[in-house]
Each structure stands twice: as structure tokens, then as C-alpha cells.
């Protein structure tokens, strides 16, 4: 862990490298060394500034939703915090003074208040919405597997020299890319029952997301298949492999390796698009739960913010994983 931190923020390592030799030997540094240090300092300063700005923005956001209030008049100045308090069944906002001064602005009144969140609601529903993470990840995982299979088939079809197969592949991609994802999701859930096909919300969602992403991802797989050089195919054929053995054993494995990092990106996008499935009302993923918790008590602001935080948290985590995966995959070949 420390090693990783050290390599990421290499100024930790730098500190030791630059101080020890100069302490024992006052020999002048070479120009190369000086330039190197200057560049490292510049990089370090940039990283530090970015981190600091991020923290500042997060603090600003926290402040805006803190419920803090500033009131000032000739009578005095108060800093208060506004809270939702439950009294005999109905909730009311109540100010609680944190700090007061006897002096204030001489004439008129000044008041500034930030947004008050119902922390009682947040506390009560946090776990409920959080448990939707598994549904969100689950439906995204099922959909990405479906999409990967479809994308591979569509890509193979696209490279086929057999006209009907080529046509089927391009037809599928064109149809799916030409219609909205949201329409596709509700189509499978609302329109198909009219034909006597009743899909559960989950499967309607998985099929819709899978079909949709499959069409978009077919380009990734096509690029993957094309990235496998002609020499690879010739070597396989020269060894006596049949066309299908060559595809299965030599071309597709390499194409998949090429396609893994972009597929990871698609999965991250899918995590967010899976929220559309909440429209069916039968998959209790994060957004559905946020609605279910927030709507009845008119706490949509809080509920949606919790949901947003979870989506954000998930995409950050998976992006970090994806980053490592990409580095790992890049290591093998050069």
C-alpha cells in the first residue's frame, strides 16, 4: 500500500533522495539533476494543487448543504444551524444558534442561509438505498455479459463475407443505435406483454441494456478482431488449423484481450444507464430505491443525493480498478 502511495505521489520518495546526498557531500548538482528536480517539483506542485482544489470544492459543496445560517441586524449577529425537527408527527425546520455576537450591521437586516437537508431521513434511508448497489451491479454485470456476447457475434458477422450474416449484423446495429435506450428499456417491459410475452423487470432490463450495449460495443470487438494481424492467421493456417480453430484459438482470444479495457469502460457507463431500468419499477436498484424512499415523504432532494453519491462512489471505484486492469494488460505485450 505504502509502495503504491509512494509511487503515485513520488514526492515522498523524492524528499529522501534529494536531502541525503546533499547533507553529506556538498558537491554541486549537475545541470541534469537540477532540471530533473525542477520538473519533479513542478509536477508535485500541480498534483498538490489539484488535490487541494478538489478538497476545497468538496468542502464548498458540504457547506452549501450544511444548513448553516448567518443572520445580522442592529441587534446582533448569529450563526445558526437549521435542522428538521419532528414534533408530534410533523416535521418542522428549527434554528439552533451556534454562535452569537452582540454587534451587527447598523441598519436593516441581512440573512444568508444554506440548504437544509433532512438528516433524519438520510439516516433512516441510507442503508435502504445503499442495498440497491448490489442490484445495480448485478443488472449491469448480467447486461455486460449479454452485450459482450452480442457484440462479439455482431463483430464477427460484420467481418463475414456471407451476405445474410453481414446484413443481419449491420441491421441489428443500425436499428439499436437508431432508437433511444430508454425506449428500448420500456419497450421490453411495457410493449412485449401486449404480444403475450411477459418478461420480469430484471430480464426486460438485461435484454434491453444488453442489446443496446451490444450494438455499440460491436465496434470495439470489430476493432479487436482487425487488430489481430494477417500474420497470425497465416501462421495458424500454415500449422493446419481450420478457419474455426484459427478464430477460436488464435484470433478471438487476442481480440478479447484488446477489447477488455474498453469493455471495462462500457461497464462503468452501464452502471449509470442501469438506472433507466428503475422505470419498470421491478428492479430495486439504487435509483428505484431513491424514488421509493423520497417520493412518499417529499424528500427527493435527499434521496437523489444519496443515490448520486453511491453512483459516483461506484464509478470512482470501478474506474480505479479499470485503471489497474489496463496497466496490467498493457504489461504483457510491447
Amino acid at each position: 500500500m505504502w509502495k503504491r502511495l509512494e509511487s503515485r505521489f513520488h514526492f515522498f520518495a523524492m524528499a529522501t533522495v534529494t536531502t541525503t546526498p546533499s547533507a553529506s557531500t556538498p558537491a554541486p548538482k549537475s545541470q541534469a539533476q537540477l532540471i530533473l528536480e525542477r520538473n519533479r517539483r513542478a509536477r508535485r506542485n500541480f498534483t498538490l494543487s489539484v488535490v487541494a482544489s478538489w478538497i476545497a470544492m468538496l468542502l464548498l459543496l458540504l457547506f452549501l448543504f450544511s444548513g448553516l445560517k448567518l443572520k445580522s441586524s442592529a441587534a446582533g449577529t448569529q450563526i445558526a444551524i437549521t435542522k428538521w425537527v419532528e414534533t408530534t408527527g410533523n416535521k418542522q425546520k428549527q434554528d439552533e444558534t451556534l454562535f452569537s455576537l452582540p454587534v451587527g450591521i447598523p441598519s436593516g437586516e441581512f440573512a444568508y442561509s444554506t440548504i437544509t437537508l433532512d438528516w433524519g431521513f438520510v439516516g433512516k434511508n441510507f442503508a435502504f438505498i445503499r442495498d440497491g448497489i448490489w442490484q445495480t451491479i448485478g443488472i449491469s454485470a448480467l447486461s455486460i455479459v449479454t452485450a459482450t456476447v452480442l457484440a462479439l457475434l455482431a463483430a464477427l458477422g460484420r467481418l463475414s463475407t456471407f451476405p445474410p450474416v453481414y446484413a443481419l449484423s449491420t441491421f441489428y446495429v443500425s436499428l439499436i443505435r437508431g432508437t433511444p435506450l430508454f425506449l428500448q428499456v420500456i419497450f421490453f417491459f411495457l410493449a412485449l406483454p401486449q404480444l403475450g410475452i411477459d418478461l420480469s423487470g430484471l430480464w426486460a432490463g438485461v435484454i434491453a441494456l444488453g442489446l443496446n450495449y451490444g450494438a455499440y460495443m460491436s465496434e470495439i470487438f470489430r476493432a479487436g478482431l482487425l487488430s489481430v494481424g494477417k500474420g497470425q492467421r497465416e501462421a495458424a493456417l500454415a500449422l493446419g488449423m481450420t478457419q474455426s480453430q484459427m478464430m477460436l484459438r488464435i484470433v478471438i482470444p487476442q481480440a478479447l484481450r484488446f477489447a477488455v479495457p474498453p469493455t471495462g469502460n462500457e461497464f462503468i457507463a452501464m452502471l449509470k444507464d442501469s438506472a433507466l431500468v428503475s422505470a419498470t419499477g421491478f428492479v430495486h436498484e439504487i435509483l428505484w430505491r431513491a424514488g421509493a424512499a423520497g417520493k412518499p415523504v417529499n424528500r427527493n432532494l435527499e434521496a437523489l443525493m444519496i443515490a448520486a453519491v453511491f453512483y459516483w462512489f461506484m464509478t470512482i471505484s470501478f474506474s480505479a480498478l479499470q485503471d489497474r486492469l489496463e496497466k496490467y494488460m498493457a504489461r504483457g505485450d510491447r
Binding site: 494481424g229 500474420g231 497470425q232 497465416e234 501462421a235 495458424a236 493456417l237 500454415a238 500449422l239 493446419g240 488449423m241 481450420t242 480453430q245 484459438r249 488464435i250 482470444p253 487476442q254 484481450r257 504483457g332 505485450d333 510491447r334
Partner: protein, 249 residues
């Protein structure tokens, strides 16, 4: 009785006539080196022997399996081509090792998938050939971590593991750094000494002189001249051969 027989071969790339009615026989245990300017059709000729290029006319025969050129890829034709490829091993200029497989996996891939050999048996055979090319220690390395010369030696072992009757070498040292050429040529010399039938396209004239039983000079899709290396190199009969050899020296 020749083991490879090429009869009246024609090949066109679009309107370009790259092979013009070529006929060629290679005897068992013979080492034939094909030389010529780039674009003379020598690589194409080699690639036609195992149908990596489909000839437009003529007939190829390897170890009793004869396949006529055809434009209709029938099931029968594909089967014949497949059988013919099992008789030939090929080594490419760009090695073409499978980057997603390590050295031993590269070698046993075809024996396992094509010959349905067990992995154990294939590994045993594979190791034998890997030892032959002097790379037994690299069995678990991935191709990306090998030098060009090592890659080409693995590629040779991979082709040998299918136990072909004829080995085809398509400029096997042209993509190598000069200091790595020797190790590959040594493996090939060893193979020739052991009696492998080989057809080699190369620009390594001293190698050709040393190893070849017969040297073929090709130009503009035709075999201009062929014979023992001493004869071709010392006293070429055709002025084109003479000019080529002078330029290369």
C-alpha cells in the same frame, strides 16, 4: 521421386502476373534455396506451396497429396489443402508467434488442436524440439520477452512439432538484427544436416552457398537459372543472375 512437385503454376495479383508457369521439383532431403530480387515472385512461390496464396493455375503436390489450383473453394478442396498443410511447416519473416501464448503453449497449440494430441504428449514432443533449437529454458516465457532470434527459433520449433515432411522458410532472417542472424541460420544448418527437406527464400548468400543442394534464381515470376551453389555463384550462365549476384556482393 520428388516430395514436392510444383507443376505449371500461375499466380496473378490483379493484373500483375507474379508467377509465370513455374514448375519445380524438390527431392526428399534436398535443401533448395530460392534467391532473387524483391518482387521476383520467390515468396509467392513458397506461399503457394502450402496454399497461403491460392494459385490461379497449375498443381501442387506434396508427399503424395496433389491439389490442383481452383477458384471454387469446395469442401473437398479445403480438405486437400488442409492435408497438404499438415505435410509442410512454415517459418515466416515476422515469426508470427502467438503473443497470448507462452513458448511451450505456442508449440503445442497445433498438435493439440489439430492432431488432437494430449497436452502431456504434445509438451513432451514440444520440449524435444525446443531443446533442439536451444531454448528449453524459455519454455514459460511469453514471446514479447524474447529476442528476435529466439522468437524465430521458437517459430521453427513450433513448425517442427507438427512433424512436417517439408519445411518452408520465407526470409527467416530478414527481420533480424545482424548479430541475431547466426543463431537462426545455425538451427537451419542443423536441420539440413539431419536430412530435413527444405525450401528457403533468403538473401543470405553465404548460407545458401554452404547449405544449399540447389540454388534457384528467380526473376519476374520465372525461374531463370538453377543448379549447385558453386555453379550458380561462381559461374552464372544467365546475365540477369550475374547482375543480381554482383549487385548483392
Amino acid at each position: 521421386m520428388p516430395i514436392v512437385k510444383v507443376s505449371n503454376l500461375d499466380k496473378y495479383f490483379g493484373r500483375l502476373h507474379v508467377l509465370k508457369n513455374i514448375s519445380l521439383e524438390v527431392a526428399e532431403r534436398e535443401v533448395v534455396v530460392i534467391i532473387g530480387r524483391s518482387g521476383s515472385g520467390k515468396s509467392t512461390l513458397l506461399r503457394c506451396i502450402n496454399f497461403l496464396e491460392e494459385p490461379d493455375n497449375g498443381m501442387i503436390e506434396v508427399d503424395g497429396i496433389s491439389v490442383p489450383a481452383t477458384h471454387r473453394k469446395t469442401r473437398e478442396h479445403n480438405q486437400q489443402v488442409h492435408d497438404l498443410r499438415l505435410k509442410t511447416g512454415m517459418v515466416f519473416q515476422e515469426f508470427n508467434l502467438f503473443p497470448h501464448l507462452n513458448v511451450i503453449e505456442n508449440i503445442i497449440e497445433a498438435p493439440v488442436t489439430v492432431k488432437k494430441m494430449s497436452k502431456e504428449q504434445a509438451s513432451e514432443i514440444g520440449m524435444r524440439f525446443l531443446e533442439k533449437v536451444g531454448l528449453a529454458a524459455k519454455r514459460s516465457e511469453f514471446p514479447a520477452r524474447l529476442s528476435g532470434g529466439q522468437k524465430q527459433r521458437v517459430a521453427i520449433a513450433r513448425a517442427l512439432a507438427m512433424e512436417p515432411r517439408v519445411m518452408l522458410f520465407d526470409e527467416p532472417t530478414s527481420a533480424l538484427d545482424p548479430e541475431l542472424i547466426g543463431e537462426v541460420l545455425n538451427v537451419m544448418k542443423q536441420l539440413a544436416k539431419e536430412g530435413m527437406t527444405m525450401a528457403i527464400v533468403t538473401h543470405e548468400m553465404s548460407f545458401a552457398r554452404e547449405v544449399a543442394d540447389r540454388v534457384i534464381y528467380m526473376d519476374e515470376g520465372c525461374i531463370i537459372e538453377q543448379g549447385e551453389p558453386e555453379k550458380i555463384f561462381a559461374a552464372p550462365a544467365d546475365p540477369r543472375t550475374k547482375q543480381f549476384l554482383e549487385r548483392i556482393r
